[in-house]
Amino acid sequence: MPASLDMKILVVDDHESMRKIEKQILNDLGYKNVDMADDGTTALPMLQKGNYDFVISDWNMPQMEGIELLKAIRADDRISKTPVLLVTAESKKEKIIEAAQAGVNDYVVKPFNAEILSEKISRIFP
């Protein structure tokens, strides 16, 4: 199902600057309904209550890493089908494999730009 510009997106990153960058890029791409969380522990309850259509998450976060958030999402029947894109500096092969096995929809290695993000969204929402 193609991405709707109205879809509700949650951006999760412990760096405030990265959250703002990703939000601005999404806004530029036309996605205006974007919320932010600073860690997996903050994001999970938001996802459980908030009817989000898409999650973009960093990997390395202090309390709950992105991979743990992904596993928690997939383990929760209410939100298990939510598409998740990991946007992270982790480029090691074993990390990518771990993310794939945990059920990630796609993976972007930092640094990235609007074009890459747009392409990934198109692949997740064909």
């Binding site: 760096h15 703002k20 960058i21 530029d28 500096a89 930092k110 640094p111 730009n113 609007a114």
Partner: protein, 262 residues
Amino acid sequence: MQNSDETIEIPQLMDSIKLDGFKEKTDQLLADLQNNNIEEAIKCINELNDLNGQNFYSVIGKLTRGLHDAISDLSIPTSDIESENNRTRSDLNYVISLTEDAAKKTLALTEKAREETQQVVQNGSEQQDLIKSFLAENSVDDNTRALLDKLSDLCDSNDSTIATLNSGITEIVMAQNFQDLASQSLTKALNIIKQVENSLISLTQYANLLTKISQFSAKNADEMNLEESEQLKDNIDKFNDLNAQEHLDQDDVDNLLSSLGF
């Protein structure tokens, strides 16, 4: 702060190795073996092992001191001078927070710039609507029509300029990507350096205590006097306590290394 032309001195580790005692003891060992003086030969071997241990301890200690001083030299002076005699220093974490603050400030300014450009676009759109509406409701002469057409063209030109401006703002936003990666890389580097330093400190402490304990290795318990027995017990207790040692800060490390002679 170190400028790009200065280098941080690495201790000449080989200078700390004492070879003089080795030659003398080795010659003595050879002589004892040739004379079939096994007891003295074993004593020589033990003394050679002690010398070896002391050299190892000395090299490790110098290496640890060198690393610790190098870490201290990574400190960055700030521009705040709290008093005449006290200049505030900070470490790489300060650099990380500086870059984070700069990125946040830049992003806040770009957000504000975006709001302004959106306002300009909106104003331009309203102007176009007013011009169209005026022309629709009023008959105007050719000069006035020409003037209004020119105003409309200027609005279109502004839209094009704003689009270019927004594109530039997006580039500025994307350029802040560096901060996150730089911060993560610096943090990883700092953690690795700290782990290496902690390992070397532990090794130095173990080597120090082993050196002290080994001084009694040639003696049996009944050959030691009371003071020697207590010293041995004290060093063994300290050796066992090393595993439970709490994390040391930079000043603790400095004091510890100084107390061990480095």
